[in-house]
């Protein structure tokens, strides 16, 4: 029988992570009024997913799936295309960083993965703004602030994800996963 790249168990886990991202986006709202602050939650989830499903592309698929779910639910203020692209790019950014730097159980790697993931989301929004000709207007006021905010919250999310992975290892979750395989 042909062996698939992802097992059914891993696909289910990815779907759950994707749903968790959308739920986090909708339910966990911080009264911070700072751009990119939701990245603190979903970068944590993406970083955790990239280790729990230790195959290149897992975080990207989680990002794409959550983007499709979010688009259908009308999440995001720049339309469905922006939602799908930004969620997917956040996953790809996390994936590429983990692929390049190694396991996100290392807190520094997890932090960088969070930064690159959230920054990828920012770049999509900024790029769409450039292409669509959205006014420079008050972007001039907020761009540097937005960029810093995305980096800081991405870092915090990555760190949170890294700490979660360490806690999962201590709890024996990865041993359980090995047995499942």
């Amino acid at each position: 029988m042909k062996e698939h790249y992802f097992s059914t168990f891993q696909l289910i886990l990815m779907a759950l992570f994707a749903a968790l991202i959308v739920v986090a986006k909708i339910a966990l709202k911080l009264p911070l009024q700072l751009p990119g602050h939701s990245g603190m939650f979903w970068m944590a989830i993406l970083v955790v997913s990239s280790r729990v499903i230790p195959k290149p592309g897992a975080a990207s698929i989680v990002g794409l799936t959550s983007g499709l779910l979010a688009a259908f639910l009308g999440v995001g203020d720049f339309g469905a295309l922006d939602t799908v692209l930004s969620y997917t790019m956040a996953g790809i950014g996390t994936d590429v960083t983990v692929l390049f730097l190694g396991s996100p159980e290392n807190l520094f790697v997890a932090t960088l993965a969070g930064i690159f993931g959230n920054l990828s989301k920012f770049l999509v929004k900024w790029g769409i703004g450039l292409v669509s000709g959205a006014p420079l207007g008050f972007v001039a006021l907020g761009l540097a602030r937005s960029l810093i905010s995305y980096i800081v919250f991405g870092a915090l999310g990555g760190l949170l994800g890294g700490l979660t992975l360490i806690a999962l290892r201590k709890a024996g979750f990865f041993t359980y996963l090995e047995e499942k395989r």
């Binding site: 730097l101 770049l123 006014p135 207007g137």
Partner: protein, 167 residues
């Protein structure tokens, strides 16, 4: 390649991306500050305000400091809308005497292809909360408690023009 080297490379890529974004933004702002076919040039990042087709001013980020901040939580999404009243913005450039209760005011966004027309009496009434919220991307979004402007689809995001008509 050793992990340490890869981390350094990743940090360099990160700094390059930050530099790219800020560099492009700087170039755009430089271009935008050039006068385009008119004797009057607006500061970069400002939103032109026209009265009967004539430019009367440009609402710029520096004007925000002169205005009082207001906020409300929209009923549709329970989101805090935090910003500046359109009434106060207009009164920075026009005396109140020039605005009649039925003076039409159109706020539009060329990138979104959206616009909304309100009259001065609606804008003047503070309880309507016709205001600009600063979006996450740093652009202005027109929101209100008025039924015609209280849902996401009705908001005017990325506002780049305000027109005041004749009553």
């Amino acid at each position: 390649m050793k992990r340490g080297l890869r981390v350094i490379l990743a940090v360099i890529i990160l700094l390059a991306l930050i530099g790219l974004v800020l560099g492009v933004d700087w170039i755009q702002r430089k271009d935008a500050s050039r006068p385009v076919g008119t004797a009057t040039s607006l500061p970069a990042g400002s939103i032109p305000i026209y009265r009967d087709g004539e430019l009367v001013g440009g609402f710029s980020p520096t004007d925000l400091g002169k205005l009082e901040k207001v906020s409300f939580t929209d009923a549709a999404e329970g989101k805090l809308q935090d910003g500046w009243l359109l009434r106060d913005v207009l009164l920075l450039y026009l005396p109140a005497a020039q605005l009649q209760p039925n003076t039409p005011i159109i706020v539009s966004s060329s990138s979104r292809g959206k616009s909304t027309q309100l009259n001065w009496s609606e804008i003047q009434e503070q309880a309507n909360m016709v205001m600009f919220d600063l979006s996450n991307r740093g652009t202005l979004k027109l929101v209100s408690l008025l039924p015609k402007l209280d849902m996401r689809d009705e908001w005017v995001q990325d506002v780049d023009r305000i027109e005041i008509g004749l009553p």
